[in-house]
């Protein structure tokens, strides 16, 4: 008798309502989020003829990558018909150095502000962090003046400088918050071992900084790659960034709207960030939550 009550063989298995509801909700949400991307991908592989007859949303009848090729190196932007490809290269040439520059400088800032504390360090920190709250529009005109007085207007270098400087408050904040959790005693020990400011930074701090380094790189690269306002203000013609070129491509086609080319171009422009997230997304999350470094 006793064993019967314990095993409870009389009770019917319960229907797992909670997990079922959970997955249903998640499924619906995932569907809603993936829809626009799906439509873009599907449209980009349909021939223009099919889009015109069957409507802009639909399953491709025959799949073709012609639109991708056109978007990459044939589509006309203003009077130049070389596709997105030169501007894609511009964006890479801007985003990669600007990302690295702002990340490295942010790391040095965060290190100096936490481990080599000096009079006024906290005030300086607050001032730097205030930069996070400055809207781009507010610095547009001063930035334009600075660039022209430096002779960097309308050049790739000008945009690198602007993006690197504008990113500094964020990267500084990231690294400061990370380094604050590293025990000061490590720096003291290294000082007594004879290491100086830069050796401690490169040999002790940087090797333990990769989680926050990833966060900073992903954050900066995404921001810079997708940025439009500075791009459209400070680059024209051949030095345009990919976002500006994409905008021009979509807005300036003559005659029939080439939806498949527009979609392919948008996807191409979005691809680097997507790839970055695919490869380092999990480091990004891990880096955001990683705080202390256990010695």
């Amino acid at each position: 008798m006793a064993t019967d009550t314990i095993t409870g063989h009389a009770r019917a298995p319960k229907f797992p309502w909670v997990p079922v509801l959970l997955y249903l909700t998640l499924g619906v949400l995932a569907f809603i989020f993936i829809m626009p991307l799906a439509v873009m991908v599907l449209t980009s592989v349909r021939p223009l003829e099919e889009i015109r007859t069957a409507g802009i949303i639909g399953i491709p009848q025959h799949v073709t990558f012609d639109a991708w090729g056109t978007a990459w190196n044939e589509a006309c932007i203003a009077s130049v018909c070389e596709g997105l490809q030169p501007y894609f290269r511009n964006s890479l040439a801007i985003a990669v150095p600007a990302t690295l520059l702002s990340t490295i400088l942010g790391a040095v800032n965060g290190y100096a502000l936490t481990k080599f504390r000096f009079r006024g360090a906290d005030t300086l920190m607050v001032l730097i962090i205030l930069g996070c709250f400055l809207p781009l529009q507010a610095v547009l005109i001063p930035a334009a003046q600075t660039l022209s007085s430096l002779g960097l207007a309308n050049s790739v270098f000008g945009l690198i400088l602007i993006y690197a400087v504008y990113g500094l408050p964020f990267t500084t904040l990231f690294f400061r918050n990370y380094y604050v959790a590293v025990p000061d005693e490590i720096v003291r020990a290294a000082t007594m071992d004879g290491a100086g400011f830069w050796r401690i930074f490169t040999q002790i701090m940087l090797p333990i900084s990769w989680p926050i380094f990833m966060v900073s790189v992903v954050f900066q690269f995404t921001g810079i790659w997708n940025e439009f306002l500075f791009g459209v203000s400070f680059s024209t013609g051949a030095s345009q960034t990919v976002t500006v070129a994409l905008n021009n491509l979509v807005n300036t086609t003559f005659g029939v709207k080439q939806y498949n080319v527009d979609m392919a171009a948008s996807l191409i422009a979005a691809l680097p960030v997507l790839i970055l997230y695919l490869f380092v997304g999990r480091f990004f999350v891990r880096g955001l939550t990683a705080g202390s470094v256990k010695g």
Binding site: P183, E185, I186, M192, G194, R199, P207
Partner: protein, 367 residues
């Protein structure tokens, strides 16, 4: 071998004086322990010796050479930290030899140095590991190895055992003592744990509020505490204190215990130093292990009737918490049948083992 002299040392942060006129000398083969509660300035003093903090006044000399303004790395001093402070990304071997690496010692020599040090600390099998793969005790051994490898003139220890559990703390304490015995290097050791201080030190500086409350050998500190602060801080369980007063009658010095009800005053005419305290408040200190049960007391020692509050049996000792009138005190007894709570004991205060302090000034009345 090295002598270390600290004279007139001052350190302030803004308007707060953290160290006020510190004067300490450590001789050859000396092991100085800076002992005090948290916030007494002992760690700041250590950092000043290490060169990690600048002084506000006074100076430090090593072997007669002024080092007050010398940079930390040029002082030939190594330090072991409470949190171990190992470099997380480096292997144990590289942690130990980092200082040599900075000084440009060739790889082969570094490897050999690491092997020797690791051998002496029994961590040779750990050389390839990262700090995160080590236990607390192993980490502290690596930290000690990092200090040893440089054969510095002076070793500094900043509460190196505080993060270890009891067993490891005893082992590592013995390790440090053994190393000091073997190498004889001058050492300065900061702790708030008086048993570490008593066991390791050749000299102890008890610190309080940025000042040295007493500087002396462990035996001096224990047997002749210079003031109430030291008397209270050193010894477990702490010394018992009995408020008292002195009167003079017909050439006799009579001492009255104030909280213990009606017991006859003691005639302490033999203690000449008390003469100056007539009419002043006095504190009499007696260590728990020097109180005796009345049966084994000597004639003339005052006897208190006390009620047992609680009894702590540690296995090696039995600590009896007692109350007599308003006076609470602790008696140490050898292990045995513990007295029952509420029972009455007759306890004698041996005059020969009394410490006399001026209650207001806190100073010891010399005998």
């Amino acid at each position: 071998m090295t002598t270390l002299n600290i004279s007139g040392l001052k350190k302030s942060f803004g308007t707060t004086d953290v160290l006020k006129d510190i004067n300490i000398a450590v001789g050859d083969r000396g092991f100085l322990v800076l002992l005090g509660p948290s916030g007494c300035g002992k760690s700041t003093l250590l950092n000043v010796i290490a060169g990690l903090e600048q002084v506000s006044g006074g100076g430090i000399t090593m072997d007669g050479q002024e080092i007050t303004r010398v940079e930390s790395k040029d002082r030939d001093i190594a330090m072991v930290f409470q949190s171990y402070a190992l470099y997380p990304s480096m292997t144990v071997e590289r942690n130990i030899t980092f200082s040599l690496e900075v000084r440009g010692v060739p790889r082969e020599q570094r490897r050999q140095a690491a092997a020797e040090v690791a051998e002496s600390l029994q961590i040779a099998h750990l050389l390839g590991r990262k700090p995160s793969q080590l236990s607390g005790g192993q980490r502290q051994r690596v930290a000690i190895g990092r200090a040893l490898v440089r054969s510095p003139k002076v070793f500094l220890f900043d509460e190196p055992l505080s993060n270890l559990d009891t067993q490891l703390r005893l082992e590592t304490r013995a390790l440090i003592k053994r190393l000091h015995q073997r190498l004889g290097s001058t050492s300065v050791y900061v702790t708030h744990d008086q048993s570490e201080a008593m066991t390791l030190a050749t000299h102890i500086a008890v610190m309080s509020k940025g000042e040295v409350a007493q500087f002396g050998t462990p035996a001096e500190i224990y047997s002749k505490p210079a003031n109430l602060f030291v008397a209270r801080f050193v010894g477990t369980p702490p010394m018992n204190f009995f408020p008292a007063s002195v009167t003079e009658r017909q050439g006799q010095l009579l001492v009255h215990l104030e909280n213990c009800g009606a017991i006859p005053p003691m005639d302490l005419s033999s203690h000449g130093a008390l003469l100056h305290s007539v009419g002043r408040k006095l504190t009499i200190g007696v260590r728990p292990d020097q109180l005796v049960l009345a049966e084994s007391a000597e004639d003339g020692d005052p006897v208190l009737e006390a009620i047992v509050d609680i009894v702590e049996d540690t296995g090696t000792d039995m600590f009896v918490y007692l109350r007599s009138g308003n006076q609470e005190f602790i008696l140490r007894q050898p292990p045995g049948l513990p007295p029952k709570s509420g029972a009455t004991l007759r306890v004698a205060l041996p005059v020969t083992n009394m410490h006399f302090f001026d209650t207001e000034l806190g100073d010891r009345l010399s005998d």
